[in-house]
């Protein structure tokens, strides 16, 4: 019991995720500033922001639904933290693996977005409501290819468990190459997903989706900020676990490997903003709607066929 509590609250749960997400927020903001010719924030900046927000007055607007207004950010953060518990960190197995944890993680990752929508809704401010609806709409555009691309390797491995997938690719590393298209789609759509969590304007998370968070302040805003940061880490960790299942014997080395993998993915996500230059509008439109989704479908088909024929 005490151990479970430790897992949930300290490691790899709430505290650890919070800490690591602050580090990655710093990396992201710093990188962004450097790309803009600026110096950027100091290393403790995200921590100072969070502490400050936590100790500020929290205003709940009169028109807002008090209980839901306050509950939504907690649900969002809880869902993200819960998702993190099922992502492998120090070994190929996550903390509490079970048969279909991949599906569960994906569901958990959808909850924050629903919460952003609800946050806008319960703010009872017309624009926040419109912003919430748009957040939801936009989310689907990016999440469909993202989820399909994440499910393709699972189909090939023939299991819905993250540990199972990891174990499968550990045994048959050659099949990882088959999933390279899915990996690319994942990176691109995750970038879309995290960009919606404004990735492009370093600390403008608070103004997300045209004012969904406009009414939030103090502690509740801090919770949302932590949710956004954690979501980035969880998505990166999930992608790392499924597409780069490199594990060694030592737990400490595995943990270091985990950090490196997440760092690489965050770095790629941040760098892509700058280097995905040659995308013209028509290419982008085709890419999002006509290329990305069909490729992930094709990937799933290929994986099913390979699974059916070769691995029989």
């Amino acid at each position: 019991m005490a151990l479970d509590l430790f897992y949930i609250v300290i490691f790899p749960g709430f505290l650890f995720l919070g800490a690591i997400s602050l580090v990655f927020e710093y990396i992201d903001r710093k990188l962004y500033a450097r790309l803009q010719n600026r110096i950027g924030p100091r290393w403790y900046q995200p921590l100072a922001d969070i502490i400050k927000l936590l100790t500020k007055e929290t205003i709940i607007p009169k028109e807002a639904d008090r209980r839901f207004f306050a509950a939504v950010p907690m649900v969002a953060l809880a869902a993200t933290t819960a998702a993190f518990l099922y992502v492998p960190i120090w070994s190929s197995r996550s903390l509490m693996p079970f048969a279909s944890d991949l599906i569960v993680v994906l569901y958990f990752l959808t909850i924050p977005t629903l919460c952003f929508f609800l946050a806008g809704w319960f703010s009872s401010s017309l624009f926040a409501q419109i912003g919430g609806v748009r957040a939801l709409t936009q989310l689907f555009a990016y999440e469909v290819p993202l989820y399909m691309a994440l499910l393709a390797p699972a189909l090939l491995a023939g299991t819905w468990s993250i540990s199972g997938i990891t174990a499968f690719y550990h045994q048959h590393p050659i099949y990882l190459l088959l999933n390279i298209p899915a990996f690319c789609i994942c990176i691109i759509s995750a970038q879309g997903k995290l960009e919606r969590v404004p990735f492009d304007i370093p600390d403008a998370e608070t103004e997300i989706v045209g004012g969904t968070f406009t009414e939030y302040s103090g502690r509740l805003l801090a919770l949302f900020k932590m949710t956004l940061n954690s979501e980035m880490v969880v998505v990166a960790a999930l992608i790392a676990a499924i597409f780069i299942p490199v594990f060694v014997q030592s737990a400490i080395l595995n943990f270091l490997l985990f950090l490196v993998k997440v760092f690489v993915i965050v770095f790629v996500l941040a760098l892509m903003r700058a280097s995905f230059a040659r995308f013209r509008i028509d290419q982008m439109i085709s890419f999002c709607w006509k290329v990305l989704a069909p490729i992930s479908l094709a990937q799933i088909l290929v994986d099913i066929i390979v699974r059916g024929i070769i691995l029989k």
Binding site: L126, I130, Q138, E195, D200, G210, G211, S275, R280, I281
Partner: protein, 401 residues
């Protein structure tokens, strides 16, 4: 989808230029729009009547912080004309020099703001970084970064030394290089073209009909420029082109501004080469003989007009200011109609409405329930950026050197 009324604005600086817009939305499109201006009215015209001519130079300089030199130049021209004094050539050259530097600073600023409005933050940062080069030059010449206080009745207050001239030449060289780079990257970039072209369409006939001025008019293919048509000071001695463009939209306005930057560099080089020796000021009497005078000046945003009526005392009887944005305001409603809500920020920004970079509040009213909600400029901008990102247009992917 029901029609929604979106009042946009009103917080806006500058004497004549605060604006707000009532937009009637049908889904994503603007069905009708109405321009309301006059929010930050400070009553400067009345105040000018109780101040002396010299005091008014500094009051009117603060009509607008971006084109302060334009307003003060335009005003001192009227007073000098009424007093019948001949301003020394050297002073006229220095005035024109500051005027062109101000145009560079204003257009650079606009470029950054335009980047900001279309969700291209890197452009904003880059343009404003290069703008600092001009700000340094202006500070070196006048002692202040903005609101230079360079003009006085009968001349200018500070001289340009040969060392300063060398520094200006050097800075102009740097700026030219950067501007050519922007012109390649921005005007050549297809995403920018697709994002801006066809947005805020204003045909040549409409541009003339609504009496627009400045880059807005010139981007609709009308080559009207006070510097050439009704030149004041030393502009007849200079060789420059009036830039026009036939796109008739926001893209055209961007092209005009970027090309005008290059013309300004040309003008500055000529001014420095031609700069004559001589005194900086002549004496202007405190009491100005009775009379009236109207003067025009090509400010970065277009034609600026000052009218002064004197009555023989040391204070004017009436000072009338027509800032360029007021002339362009009437056309905005026309440009917005039928466009997308997501385009509203860039269309408004494209007339360069003496853009203060503060958030202007937007009130969203549901036509059915009458419920009103505030939406700030930032939210609208963000909404716009996302709307376009959904269409697959993302400027954050364009790398800048």
């Amino acid at each position: 989808m029901s029609k929604i009324m979106v009042p946009l604005g009103p917080q806006h600086p500058a004497l004549e230029e605060p604006e707000s817009f009532n937009l009637l939305l049908e889904g994503e499109r603007v069905a009708a729009s109405q321009v309301c201006i006059g929010y930050n009215h400070r009553g400067m015209e009345k105040a000018a009547e109780s101040r002396t001519y010299l005091q008014n130079v500094y009051l009117l300089e603060r009509i607008c912080g971006i084109c302060s030199h334009s307003h003060s130049t335009c005003y001192v021209q009227t007073v000098e004309d009424l007093a019948g004094v001949e301003v020394p050539q050297r002073a006229l050259y220095i005035r024109a020099l500051i005027g062109e530097l101000e145009r560079i600073h204003s257009h650079m600023l606009w470029l950054g703001i335009a980047g900001h409005e279309i969700g291209f933050m890197t452009l904003f940062m880059y343009a404003w970084k290069d703008r600092e080069i001009v700000m340094d030059i202006l500070e070196m010449l006048t002692g202040n970064r903005i609101n230079y206080g360079m003009n006085t009745l009968g001349g200018v207050r500070r001289d340009v030394t040969p060392e300063m001239a060398d520094k200006i030449r050097e800075a102009v060289g740097q700026l030219q290089e950067r501007t050519e780079y922007y012109s390649r990257v921005i005007l050549g970039e297809e995403t920018v073209y697709l994002r801006l072209s066809g947005v805020g369409k204003l045909s040549k006939a409409d541009a003339l009909r609504f009496d627009t001025t400045g880059p807005v008019l010139r981007a609709s293919g009308v080559g009207r420029d006070v510097r050439r048509d009704d030149p004041n000071g030393i502009y007849p001695n200079l060789d420059f082109q009036v830039i026009t463009d036939d796109h008739e939209d926001v893209y055209g306005r961007t092209v005009v501004r970027v090309k005008e930057l290059l013309e300004s560099y040309k003008i500055i080089r000529q001014i420095l080469d031609q700069l004559p020796d001589g005194p900086l000021t002549v004496k202007v009497p405190n009491r100005i003989p009775a009379g009236e005078c109207i003067s025009r000046y090509e400010a970065p945003r277009g034609e600026d007009i000052h009218y002064t009526r004197s009555n023989g005392t040391d204070k004017p009887d009436r000072v009338k200011v027509r800032a360029p944005t007021l002339a362009n305001s009437a056309a905005i409603a026309h440009m917005l109609d039928g466009g997308y809500l997501a385009d509203v920020p860039i269309v408004i920004a494209a007339i360069d409405p003496c853009f203060s970079c503060t958030d202007r509040m937007v009130r969203v009213t549901d036509a059915n329930s009458g419920q009103a909600q505030s939406m700030d400029w930032e939210s609208l901008r963000r909404y716009s950026a996302q709307w376009y990102r959904k269409q697959g247009m993302d400027f954050s992917r364009i790398p800048l050197r």
